[in-house]
């Protein structure tokens, strides 16, 4: 098999014997196409004013689009269930990378371009959070199911949701062309970001400030073919980066990935590289573009390293200090963080710059003035929101402290492993590695 694959290494293409140049040209072409894609999307934002004279044309009354029919929402849930079942089947039963690949294409088309990236399980975190903290907000059953179902499936079968049911994962997965392996320390360090993003997303949702996951979703602008220029650029940048650093959003940003990772660690039937016994051929060692394969433990090296029980105890004892530090920093940061809230922002703006009341171009201020709401009420509401931020920021800070402490502790924990295994928390169950395993079932 290896010979068959290697024989193409120096393949002539159209008589050219300069494969490197050819590859570079393709990347450039691809990059160029995506950047141009950015331009045309932003161009669509322009508008033409109405004529200044009477044309006889009757201006249609703007109509607010009807929400998606409930039956169709349940249909979306059904599709999610079917896709998850198929992804799980392809990953665990048929062990088919091709199956998962085509499923990703379907997910991208349906949940991405057809459903415009909404509803999505990642954003549903915020709906669930807001339900707990805002008694006036009732989460829809669909949003709840989109949040819960992937977690439950992951708890039993690993992250098959990431493999084939997530449109954000799918669009990134499909552009992985020449992935590079990142060093472990970088993976670990960057791995802190999703926790930070999750804690901020929950904090902002709980305080009714913003749904930052949706607002800063880099791919939704591409799905909708209509987004702000910078968001399109961000999405394109992620895709370009994703050609070499596979699934950058999933690995180093996705807040839902944090929850899935936790669930997946407990999964009893996770994807395995080999269908039966590992023969230690090492063919799969570089097959994972996400650096999610754990190698067998070299016990001698571990003993020699000194990263043993002593350091484990030290790091374990330091965890409360990290938490305390996080709580302290969170408490201190609440003023800063709460400025993201529109009410707090407006109240502070009017207090610091009362002259802005005279600024007809300041839409925020003019809208507030037109509402007739007294300043006292605005300040009172802003103060209440800031109080919520005080508590929330301390919890978020404490959580981040715990995450840092636990991640640190994890670096001195060595699990006894004799085979090459997917890391249950980090593996997206994409089944790339199974194609590399020569072991037959």
């Amino acid at each position: 098999m290896r010979n068959q694959l290697n024989q193409n290494k120096n393949q002539n293409c159209f008589g050219l014997r300069i494969p490197d140049i050819r590859h570079k040209l393709k990347y450039l072409l691809f990059t160029f196409a995506f950047f141009l894609f950015t331009f045309n999307l932003s161009a669509q934002k322009q508008r033409f004013p109405k004529p200044e004279f009477d044309t006889g044309y009757t201006q249609p009354t703007p109509v607010t689009p009807e929400p998606r029919a409930l039956a169709m929402e349940y249909f979306d849930v059904l599709v999610l269930l079917l896709v998850l079942a198929a992804a799980t089947y392809f990953a665990l039963k048929s062990r088919s990378r091709q199956g998962i690949l085509w499923l990703s294409v379907f997910t991208l088309v349906y949940f991405g371009f057809y459903r415009n990236g909404c509803i999505c399980s990642i954003g549903a975190i915020q709906n669930v959070t807001l339900t707990f903290f805002d008694p006036a907000y009732a989460i829809s059953l669909t949003a709840l199911l989109f949040f819960v179902i992937p977690l439950v499936v992951t708890l039993f079968f690993g992250r098959t949701f990431c493999a084939g049911a997530c449109p954000l994962g799918a669009i990134q997965d499909l552009v992985v062309v020449k992935p590079i392996s990142l060093p472990k320390w970088l993976n670990k360090t960057l791995g802190l970001i999703p926790y930070l993003y999750l804690s901020l997303a929950v904090l902002f949702a709980a305080t009714g400030t913003d749904f930052i996951i949706c607002r800063y979703d880099p791919f939704v602008g591409i799905f909708r073919m209509d987004a702000k220029f910078l968001m399109i650029v961000l999405g394109i940048a992620f895709l370009l980066m994703g050609m070499f650093v596979a699934r950058p959003y999933c690995r180093f940003l996705c807040p839902y990935g944090v929850l899935l990772s936790w669930m997946s660690r407990f999964s009893s039937r996770h994807l395995t590289i080999t269908p039966s016994k590992c023969i230690q051929c090492k063919l799969c060692t570089h097959s994972c573009p996400f650096d999610a394969i754990d190698f067998p433990t070299n016990e001698k090296e571990v003993v020699k390293s000194g990263l043993g029980p002593k350091r484990f105890i030290t790091y374990a004892l330091v965890i409360p200090l990290w938490i305390a530090l996080g709580v302290f920093v969170g408490a201190k940061s609440h003023t800063f963080l709460s400025k993201a809230n529109q009410d707090v922002y407006l109240a502070e703006l009017l207090i610091a710059h009362p002259e802005l009341r005279n600024d007809p171009d300041n839409i925020d201020v003019q809208t507030f003035l037109a509402s007739g709401k007294p300043m006292e009420q605005l300040v009172s509401e802003a103060t209440a929101i800031r109080e919520k931020f005080y508590i929330g920021s301390m919890i978020a800070g404490g959580f981040m402290g715990l995450v840092i402490g636990m991640t640190l502790l994890n670096t001195v924990v060595f699990r006894k492993r004799q085979d090459y295994e997917p890391h249950k928390g980090n593996c997206f169950s994409c089944a790339r590695c199974v194609d590399y395993c020569p072991v037959e079932k």
Binding site: N6, N8, C13, F48, T297, V302, S305, E355, N358, T411
Partner: protein, 615 residues
């Protein structure tokens, strides 16, 4: 299909789709460039056609040409939009195919790497990871702390700031009267050549408490007035002491008013001087002295000119006023910081600025008193002009925090009375009207047109009939008050019975005040239509659609009606029930203020210069 075939096929498809994507992308780029470069709504050709139409308003052929041009521009624009949208989808399709075949190509081409020795760097990597985690964790914490220390909790300072925000009220209550003692004050010396700047005056502060006024009910607080420095109507009519002349009614008694001039060419221009600082206030006249004000973000000044030769006699600076903001409030360019017109009682000249500063100078430039009424909460800038009667300086102070009118003592600046009004913000100016031997102050704002006793401030009557951002002042004649505002209505009110005699909503002024005189009413719209109505019946008598914007107010003088447009063209009409245009004269520069009149002279403030028109 063997692997070789797969490779070849995927490569070929990749190449074709790559070229396709590049071509579509290039076309899109060109389209994008074209859209950004050519703004169809600012087409020079269209602008030229519109300009031609302004000169030839009834040219139907030209109108049709403009419509066709506009339609063509729209078609081109929407065609571009369609191309962009279609191209985007084509590019998306191409990109998907390209991504797919590239994947197939690399999958078919991939080789299995030689197995490498593992775990070589596992321990080292973990140790580096520990450092990385600690560094990143600490960096996040430090950045958060830094951000927190750099953040200011403005909400905590709300109470203190609220007091400042309510300054408009407190400042009114705590009146600061500046008594200028001769030995403590540097006085602006009267100079024929150079204006002398005012220097700091020592301030004796007197606090006058006033009771809280309910916004629901107009409340009047009256203090004994200082010795009257009142003028007679005859005296006023000899001068031009306020916005729109005596009583601010727009009716001038002077004769021999010129009807022909050319500002740019110098024909019938007696003199022309540049005003040091800009302002939209109109000139006022007392005797041989003419006063205007100007302001910028640094200083606010009052200028006194000799109206015979245009020489600057003195400059009074409105500075060192307690309660005055260090930075002036934000105002719009078409209002500015010196929009209100000054007034004089012949003994002193009074000015108010958008900062809320009111200042009085004697006729020689000596500062008498100054106070700040609280920075008016006004999103365009305060523009209500001052007027004086019977020793009182009357100030309409309708702001976003509610309406009020007050009378200050001409000599001391102390509040004589103050009346809260059930009105919103306005930009109109007060008008005086004599009714059955007593003088009333007529004010208009959203929602009321009302009359106030000049002596006590008592609200004598009010009619709820106005709305919006009211700029035009009322017209008054023959016992009828006429008030109007753009996008609202024009109403004629019997001042004795408050009966609405008639109303109309076709031609409405935006900024120009209403002239009512001897059975006729004149209204100038901001889009350049000058209209004459019958005062009693409201019948539209004539209209002149000249198409230039007008902010200045029409004035009756010498049997004619004078109306200046923003382009500096003054149109003169015979005061008649029929349209008879007497003349049309160009100033040579833009003009928004209302001219002042004296025997044989018109004084016009342009964008930069002050003109004396006459022979």
């Amino acid at each position: 299909m063997n692997n070789q075939d797969k490779l070849k096929l995927s490569h070929n498809i990749a190449l074709i789709t790559g070229i396709f994507c590049a071509a579509v992308a290039l076309l899109l780029l060109l389209n994008f460039w074209q859209i950004t470069k050519t703004d169809p709504i600012e087409s020079k050709a269209l602008e030229a056609l519109v300009q031609r139409l302004k000169d030839d308003r009834n040219n139907e052929e030209l109108k049709e040409e403009i419509r066709n041009f506009d339609l063509l521009a729209r078609k081109a624009y929407f065609n571009s939009q369609w191309q962009v949208e279609t191209g985007a989808y084509m590019l998306l399709f191409g990109a998907i195919v390209l991504a797919f075949v590239l994947r197939v190509y690399y999958a078919a081409k991939s080789k299995i790497e030689e197995p490498e020795k593992v775990l070589e760097n596992e321990i080292a990597s973990r140790i580096i990871a520990q450092k990385g985690i600690v560094i990143v964790g600490a960096a996040v914490m430090v950045l958060a702390l830094l951000a927190s220390y750099l953040s200011v909790n403005q909400l905590k300072s709300y109470d203190a700031n609220a007091l400042v925000a309510e300054n408009e009220t407190t400042a009114d209550e705590a009146v600061e009267v500046i008594n200028v003692a001769p030995e403590q004050t540097a006085i602006n010396e009267v100079s024929e050549e150079v204006a002398v700047n005012e220097t700091t005056a020592s301030e004796n502060v007197t606090e006058v408490q006033s009771e809280d006024a309910s916004p629901e009910t107009p409340v009047t607080e009256t203090k004994p007035a200082a010795a009257s420095s009142g003028m007679t109507l005859a005296e006023l009519q000899k001068n031009h002491n306020s916005f729109r002349g005596p009583l601010a009614q727009g009716v001038i008694m002077h004769k021999n008013i010129p009807t022909e001039w050319d500002g740019a060419g110098g024909t019938n221009v007696v003199w022309k001087v540049e005003v040091p600082k800009h302002g939209f206030n109109s000139p006022i006249i007392w005797g041989d002295k003419l006063f205007v004000a100007g302001a910028d973000n640094t200083t606010r000044e009052v200028y006194c000119y000799n109206r015979n030769d245009g020489k600057l006699l003195w400059t009074g600076v409105a500075d060192n006023i307690s309660g005055s903001p260090t930075t002036p409030p934000r105002v719009t360019d078409d209002t500015g910081l010196a929009a209100p017109t000054l007034t004089t009682d012949g003994k002193a000249v009074f000015a108010i600025f958008a900062t809320g500063d009111v200042i009085a100078f004697d006729m020689n430039g000596k500062r008498l008193w100054a106070r700040n009424l609280g920075v008016p909460d006004n999103h365009y800038g305060h523009s209500s002009s001052l007027i004086s009667w019977n020793g009182k300086l009357l100030v309409q102070y309708d702001t976003n925090r509610g309406g009020k009118v007050m009378a200050l003592d001409n000599k001391s600046g102390e509040t004589v009375w103050e009346t809260q009004r059930n009105s919103k913000i306005s930009w109109a100016s007060p008008v005086l009207a004599e009714v059955d031997g007593k003088y009333q102050l007529l004010l208009t704002a959203d929602p009321i047109v009302a009359g106030y006793d000049v002596e006590t401030g008592e609200e004598l009557w009010s009619v709820e009939c106005m709305m919006g951002e009211v700029g035009p002042s009322v017209g008054y004649a023959d016992g009828i008050v006429v008030a109007a505002n753009e996008y609202a209505r024009m109403v004629a009110i019997d001042i004795r019975t408050q009966e609405v005699l008639w109303e109309d909503d076709f031609y409405l002024p935006e900024a120009s005040s209403i002239l009512a005189h001897d059975g006729l009413v004149f209204v100038a719209t901001s889009y350049g239509v000058f209209v004459c109505y019958d005062l009693k019946e409201g019948e539209l008598l004539w209209e002149d659609d000249f198409g230039s914007p007008v902010y200045s107010s029409p004035v009756f003088a010498d049997g004619k009606v004078y109306l200046m447009d923003n382009d500096g063209v003054m149109r003169i009409y015979e005061f008649s029930r029929e349209l008879k245009k007497v003349g049309e004269n160009e100033l040579g520069e833009m003009s928004g203020p209302t001219p002042a009149f004296a025997d044989g002279r018109i004084y016009i403030r342009g964008e930069n210069d002050l003109f004396c028109i006459g022979k």
